[in-house]
Symmetry: C2
Subunit: 309 residues, 2 copies
Amino acid sequence: MILTVTLNTALDITYRVRSLRPHASHRVSDVVERPGGKGVNVARVLAALGHEVTVTGFAGGATGQVLRERLSATPGVTDALVPSAGSTRRTIAIVDELTGDTTQLNEPGPQIEPAEWGAFLDRYDELLPSASAVALSGSLPPGVPVGAYAGLIRTARALGVPVLLDTSGEPLRRGVAARPDIIKPNAEELAELTGSHEPSRATQDARRRGAHAVVASLGPQGLLAATPEGRWRATPPARVHGNPTGAGDSAVAALLSGLVEQLPWPDRLSRAVALSTATVLSPTAGEFDRATYDELVDRAVVTAHTLTA
Amino acid sequence: MILTVTLNTALDITYRVRSLRPHASHRVSDVVERPGGKGVNVARVLAALGHEVTVTGFAGGATGQVLRERLSATPGVTDALVPSAGSTRRTIAIVDELTGDTTQLNEPGPQIEPAEWGAFLDRYDELLPSASAVALSGSLPPGVPVGAYAGLIRTARALGVPVLLDTSGEPLRRGVAARPDIIKPNAEELAELTGSHEPSRATQDARRRGAHAVVASLGPQGLLAATPEGRWRATPPARVHGNPTGAGDSAVAALLSGLVEQLPWPDRLSRAVALSTATVLSPTAGEFDRATYDELVDRAVVTAHTLTA
């Protein structure tokens, strides 16, 4: 199985309103609730691609219970979340029906107690030996040490389990130093890590800092990969419009599935671009359109990339 | 005990954000959850005034469970809510820290099934004989018949239990025809019921439609009461600034407590004005400031009111 770690899970709630106006009162016409947090999104996409996935991290309180109920109803996904006394956070996406714009409200994560963090580490140690790969995704809730991902990467690598890291800021900086197999920063995260706003140089720099492979997601410009086997740029066959929510998580799922299937890098990148694009084009945020994916996976353009001076 | 009926209960969630901007992403700095719905608010105030209160209506799903846990932790309040399969709605109040403005998002209520409505009617019949007064408060969730309040009023009156109705639109119109002891419309609800925007005429008209006593809440202008014993206007001693959320529910609680204590109408109205004002002045929406209430209750100005031509 593939293991995804989401320390700061969320219950993602989407509201539709006719038009969002500050200081006004709004009737919500439609409410959708979905288990969320980056690693949970990655798990859902991996399961849809036919992989067995186990989800760990924390869940607590009434929102955590709803999240677990919904997760257990997802075929192919095994729930190995660790209970926390604090409540799992909610995120609210308010979709304005007139403009199509989304306004986002993110609750803070729950405080994780030292005993809960210890229980998570035990669970991680139990799960790792059966994992073909592990993804460490998203922010850290309060109480989790900032070097948490670095430790989890070292444990995985000691057991020979390949590990992908997708986070930002100091947890990313410390994680990279622990030599993960793949990191998948977006342009902003990559610039923050390396100090360089030039993606080609920055991906090389991130490799020097410790990441074996760097796959930068550059929005509509596609992916830029720097790996031990070469450098590539992967772009969708045409520019698309839609909702980019979850496109990065879909790219992570594609990279992991390509890794466990031992695909060559260019094929992993085609898959990642096709899956991201099919996610942007899906009417539901974070879902991917299967037909679009099947059509695009052979049409993504992957070209060898030379470092420009 | 005093019985409050809240068919469309809610979990009221308050978020603080630095500045609400449509189409942006916001970190919520503070999350407060409270049992809500008008009748639940009335019960909380009545309990704080020292009355024994029983709360009925519907609660369901994960939000209903949180609401019931919080309610059971409120001294003086007894939970007699009836389970619904549909989830209790949430309301989200987003407080902008820069402007102090509040933006409100209200989820739709759950669909109430016919068997659930039947179970509620049985519960209401069980509770009524021990009630010294009953308040029927707020909107009706989908599935509850529009004439629901009219039926509940007739049942209460047949048992000699005084009943206060605080709702709007068609449920108010039908409820008034069933001859409730008191209605407490705001200016807009009163105008919608009577077709008159002149509060003095409109309160008289609402009495002719069936309400024994009409207490209109006119915001900063205080209360206008038309009763079998006379007409009064009640105003706070000074104009106050603050958050009016829950001020109407506090007025209802004051009117009910004055009714069961058999106070003369002017004393009931002083209490209602003082409690509403103390609610507006409280830093927490829907709570009242005890010291302010104690000070204002003897200073509210209640004057006999003559119908102007």
